[in-house]
Symmetry: C2
Subunit: 319 residues, 2 copies
């Protein structure tokens, strides 16, 4: 895993966007330098390797996916009024709002520019996959924004939203690697589906950890979603299962200003309703379904080991 | 000219972006339906025709340029706090800010998607031209934003900014048509330079008309730039030529709240300094230089007539 990360980090360092005005390029380089696990480009490289492709040929497409991901973070952070990203100031905070919009736009174009560097007979296919993935991410973010002003979101609506916003990008990254390696259409679809289900499993578990995780391992403070009344899987499921009396209590707690009390009382309700168990089970179900898709791929079992390890790391599983 | 416009309008009508959520796609279709002169896609079609290319093959690239242009308007209008665009509410006003950001992002991706429909051996060249043009437009808009907080902008800085923000897109549209038609590299460069200089000429004249034009023909109210203290060619040139006493007067007038008085007094200063004449001359110089580039292109004089007519219409010249 570390060797992939090293490859990606070295390539990002070499990338260094240069241009004028500096105020437009600095935020792009800043975002790319903030690090993170680089899951998305690693998925592209791993999928390429799995289908016995040339990893070097997958590097530009992998970088394009990572640049795209960072573009979406810049715009999302502004829309979410987030002050911090990976412990550092977000672009609209460190610079200003127009700079965040424009350097985000620039990054989206730069993602296409990097993708087109893989001057290859497969460019049209890669471009088409990239476009369709990017469109899904925009749709997912718009739904997420809409949900903030909407009550009674169903579990299905929620799953569709995280599918577009989170899972489609992971799936697209994997399929990108498959396309570069020249995998069959069927195999490319299987690896896409594997990534999509893995993404859903991951997001549901992320929701769970925000309420029931260990702050140290999770890396964020616990209960943040509850404090902000975020419509997570847990919150939606709880409203669905609650009796009228409990639902009323949840409504009242939404405006509770003593956050410690708020988190404590809502967690108690979640426990009563068995939310923790239900959430774990659904995340597990998506992961098992994902593994079935991986299993259907025509390559050897050995070729799939790396991806399974990465998936388990992503899901914070003890191996 | 009208036949090109009809072709473009028909193609835009057929385009109709469809997808979920509606709140993401409606603003994109709204922007595309607001009309305008469709100069950019017409330039692509005309350049293709001029080089004896197949106009049908140029349609997707032409539409991609128009979608890109509209994407940039959506984000610019938000950054400029503009309430109206072509007499209708801007996207961030009619919907909200996140919707303007996200539907703008979507339009940028859709521009690439439409471009990639021209499934052609020239896709890599078109993509590269599109990327480089889009990057320039982002750079130009960032410079324009920066200039708002900056004093003592030089004429050269101003020309570079409008070159990136306005002229590069017109130039890129023309070159796109040349690429589709398979023009020689040299001819493609000439038509790019023609478009670039035409764009500068146009923008300088647009600045002029905002202060000295006829409201009816110009289509906007006169003096808007002066009221907003916009750093136009006229304003920068006036500061450059002003004596210390007049410069002081201009500084004082910048905060004048009686707008009628403000416009009147600043126009008087412009007249004293001969700004109108200087501006006209520079616009004319760029137009003549543009025509020289057009003249250098290897096709027949007859093939260039349409483009010259369009250029003259753009520059509001009586033919």
């Amino acid at each position: 895993m570390n060797s992939y990360l090293d490859l990606i980090e070295a390539a990002i360092k070499k990338l260094q966007f240069k241009g004028h005005p500096k105020s437009l390029y600095d935020p792009a380089n800043y975002m790319m330098s903030l690090g993170g696990k680089r899951i998305r480009p690693i998925l592209t490289l791993m999928a390429c390797k799995m289908f016995d492709g040339n990893i070097e040929k997958a590097m530009y497409p992998a970088l394009a996916m990572e640049i795209f991901h960072n573009f979406s973070l810049v715009h999302d952070d502004f829309m979410d009024h987030a002050p911090l990203r990976r412990g550092k100031a977000t672009v609209h905070t460190k610079w200003d709002v127009p700079t965040a919009i424009l350097s985000g736009d620039l990054m989206l174009v730069l993602a296409y520019k990097v993708l087109s560097k893989s001057n290859d007979e497969k460019l049209a296919d890669m471009l088409s996959l990239f476009n369709n993935t990017a469109i899904k991410v925009c749709e997912g973010q718009q739904l997420d924004m809409e949900f903030q002003h909407k009550n009674n979101i169903s579990i299905q609506e929620y799953l569709d939203m995280i599918g577009l916003k989170t899972a489609a990008l992971l799936a697209g990254c994997l399929k990108m690697g498959a396309v570069v390696a020249g995998a069959s259409t069927k195999d490319a679809e299987y690896i896409y589906d594997f990534g999509y289900k893995l993404g859903i499993s991951f997001q549901i578990q992320d929701d769970l950890l925000d309420s029931f995780g260990d702050a140290q391992t999770f890396g964020k403070s616990i209960g943040g979603d509850i404090v902000e009344n975020k419509k997570t899987f847990l919150a939606i499921k709880a409203r669905e299962l609650a009796t009228p009396a409990i639902r009323k209590k949840l409504d009242t707690l939404a405006s509770e200003t003593d956050y410690v009390r708020k988190v404590e009382l809502i967690l108690t309700i979640y426990e009563q309703l068995g939310i923790k168990h239900i959430t774990k089970e659904l995340s597990e179900k998506y992961y098992q379904d994902a593994l079935k898709d991986l299993d259907s791929i025509s390559t050897s079992d050995a070729s799939k080991k790396e991806l399974i390890s990465l998936a388990e790391e992503l899901l914070n599983r003890v191996r």
